[in-house]
């Protein structure tokens, strides 16, 4: 019972944060509601017993990635977004469409999925076992990921640091 209550409370916080992300017009408010979503998702992971994933979620997602987002929002001095004709059309068709789609998916999952129940802490996964898996069964993907991260770092540095010629420079030169 307590499991269901904690799940529902943090699930509602999660959905409220996601809807608030859509409703807010200033990007910094959207970023802060995304932090709320990620924090409550970390609690859901803890409920499932995935304490390693919960810790990584808080450190990497809510910490590193969101700090990067907030940095960029502050750096570019992003203001409120202006709604255009295209966004009104997308709202008119997108929101009802996604509502219908998600209600359909929820109905199928709740009525016809045939999956069982999950107990508190159902995952028997201490970080030691995950590390063992990572360096034995998933060694090749792990190494490929390190190459990917290296390329991403170099790409980010190249893209962000080199100021390309602006339109004004071209007109003058």
């Amino acid at each position: 019972m307590l499991h269901l209550i904690v799940f529902s409370v943090f699930g509602l916080v999660c959905v409220a944060g996601a809807v608030n992300l859509l409703a807010q017009r200033h990007p910094i408010n959207s970023a802060l509601s995304l932090v709320v979503v990620m924090g409550s998702l970390a609690v859901e992971y803890l409920l499932l017993g995935a304490e390693f994933v919960a810790a990584v979620q808080v450190i990497v997602y809510a910490g590193a990635i969101m700090v990067l987002f907030v940095f960029v929002i502050m750096l570019l001095n992003a203001g409120e977004e202006d709604r255009t004709k295209g966004s009104r059309v997308a709202m008119l068709f997108g929101i009802p469409g996604m509502l219908i789609g998600s209600v359909l998916v929820a109905w199928v999952l709740l009525e016809h999925s045939g999956t069982g129940n999950v107990a508190v802490g159902a995952l028997p996964g201490p970080p030691k076992v995950i590390g063992w898996l990572l360096f034995h069964d998933f060694l090749l993907p792990f190494e490929v990921t390190s190459v990917l991260v290296l390329i991403a770092i170099m790409g980010a540095v190249v893209l962000a640091s080199h100021p390309g010629p602006t339109q004004q420079d071209k007109r003058e030169g």
């Binding site: 269901l4 859901e44 390693f52 996964g125 076992v129 980010a156």
Partner: protein, 100 residues
């Protein structure tokens, strides 16, 4: 005891919110945040299925998804900075040409 389908429904709602944000938002940074929301929804279903079948590979997959998301956000935000330098706008409706 909570049915597994509740976790999957929560993950589906998060994914739907992400898709809706991708469609209706016009600020390029907020569109990027919607993509992160979709990735989070998928991560939740990975962990829920891992708990259902006692398979730890699901958690390792979530780890890989997070690493790819981190790399993607670093490169994507660098691209956003480059776009802002050349166009001086963040509205995707005004960024409609590949050339300058």
């Amino acid at each position: 005891m909570v049915p597994l389908s509740y976790y999957l429904v929560l993950s589906g709602i998060l994914f739907a919110c992400g898709v809706t944000g991708f469609l209706i938002k016009r600020n390029i940074i907020t569109i990027f945040m919607s993509i992160e929301l979709m990735l989070n929804g998928v991560n939740l279903s990975f962990v829920a299925f891992a708990a259902q079948w006692h398979a730890l590979s699901g958690q390792v997959f979530v780890f890989f998804v997070m690493v790819v998301a981190a790399a993607e956000s670093a490169v994507g935000l660098a691209i956003i900075i480059a776009v802002y330098r050349t166009r001086e706008t963040l509205n995707v409706d005004r960024v409609n040409l590949l050339k300058l």
